[in-house]
Amino acid sequence: MKIVGLNKSYGDIRIFENFCIEFEEMKTTAVMGASGVGKSTLLNVIAGLTDYSGSIEKEGEISVIFSEPALLKNLSVVKNLEYAVAHAYPGGKIPEDKLEEVLEAVELADRKDALPYELSTGMAQRVALARGFLYPSRYIVMDEAFRGLDTALKVRLKRYFLKLSEMNPRTVVMITHDLDEALSLSDRVVVFDSHPVRIALDISLSSDKSARLPTDVDYATAAAEYMRFIEASI
């Protein structure tokens, strides 16, 4: 996916001005930066939720995973998935094996008839993850999908994400504030700076993300580079 000559303003503030970025196919790119810099605006642009000028070159559909599960509270887990996804499959029906596979991956197969109020925060976010990967899209954009969750829950959700990514590889753009999340789940980390947005830091991570540890060289090097940038920009 390639964004070329993106322009977007809010009032007098030019968020993006002739901005270009390319996201490598079937890789996960984490987008970081200070609050209000334009990360979520980029997500809205990619997802088609806001108007802009410029072009986005992509081949296929996009699915999204927000920081909130965005579940319809009158529908069960499986009905929520069908509501958002079924129309994208031939005959308007999600193949049974595909549905079971994704629900098994996020360990919700036994909760598929539960209503959202019967789910914990973590379970609800797992439904959102399942929905993002169940939609037959080429791209997934994630907007702080693990925000506000406790550490243990974050670790579990990250595992589910990696498992689903392996099963259904996608080009993922992940908006996050969490350095560990970025370094443990992505193949590349870009850091946005100032208005209009420019890419201040662009770090590639070469190790296999499903087995990557904070003690690995590329993780530790990237973390140090990011912290040096933060120290210099304060």
Partner: protein, 262 residues
């Protein structure tokens, strides 16, 4: 001792029968007591009759064909006004929520309708229309802006994440309307309907009094007032309260049948 206290507290707050039957009955009892004491203090039935006298008059009315005809006429007109207001509010609130220019056009109309004194609307309607039709228009003009505002707010409060998710996933419009929007606004729609259906009845009766609508509850109340038969007037008032409870009860029942999630 403390454990007993906890048990009593739990019994009083957790028992559905106590919460739904006993507590409301205590509330009604308090009203009756105040009414009874008030009537004893005033001591003149023409000014404030005792509750027993009002209930006696109500019982008398229940066996009277004219009473049921008046209730039917008033109820029919109230439902006609309410259903028209509901339908108009549903259409204009939907347009306002989704089409910005429409929202800008409708907003001042709603503000004006909400600001015009009820009495002005009643008096103008009485001049312009027949006695049977004026109360219908008056009730519509009072209830419609309130329902419009409630419905518009309900639509604006639909989870923005769910709305955006539906857009990104390309959920078909009919599914968004019937699976996302309608169920999301139903609880607020029922809450607004419950309070406004009672208001509709109150405005209807007030309009009937002023318009002197033939064979209506309002006009029979006015006749009781002219003859200074306050006990009978209170009997009609009790009937109006009962009718109001019944209308609210129907809305609650419809909500229970329709809204099955928390």
């Amino acid at each position: 001792m403390r454990a007993d206290g906890e048990k009593i507290k739990k019994f009083l707050s957790g028992n559905a029968w106590i919460a739904n039957i006993v507590y409301p009955l205590i509330g009604v009892g308090v009203i009756m007591l105040i009414w009874f004491v008030g009537a004893r203090v005033v001591g003149v039935e023409m000014v404030l009759p005792a509750p027993a006298r009002a209930f006696e008059e109500l019982l008398g009315l229940l066996g009277d064909k004219t009473f049921w005809s008046a209730v039917g006429n008033t109820l029919g007109r109230t439902l006609l006004s309410f259903v028209s207001s509901f339908a108009a509010a549903a259409v204009t609130a939907t347009l306002s929520a989704f089409v910005k220019p429409v929202s800008k056009i409708i907003a001042p109309i709603i503000t004006v309708l909400r600001s015009v004194p009820t009495m002005s609307i009643i008096l103008i309607a009485i001049i312009a229309l027949k006695a049977a039709r004026a109360p219908v228009l008056v009730t519509f003009l009072i209830v419609y802006p309130l329902l419009h505002a409630s419905f518009e707010r309900a639509l604006e409060n639909v989870d923005p994440y769910a709305v955006n998710m539906s857009r990104v996933f390309g959920v078909p419009l009919y599914k968004r309307i019937f699976v996302l929007y309608v169920p999301a606004v139903l609880p607020d729609v029922f809450a607004a309907s419950k309070s406004n259906v009672s208001l509709a009845l109150k405005v209807m009766i007030a309009s009937e009094v002023l318009a002197q609508t033939f064979g209506s509850m309002g006009v029979y109340m006015q006749i009781s007032r002219i003859y200074l038969d306050t006990a009978l007037l209170m009997g009609w008032t009790l009937a109006a309260i009962g009718l109001s409870f019944a209308l609210e009860g129907v809305v609650v029942l419809l909500k229970k049948v329709t809204v099955r999630w928390k």
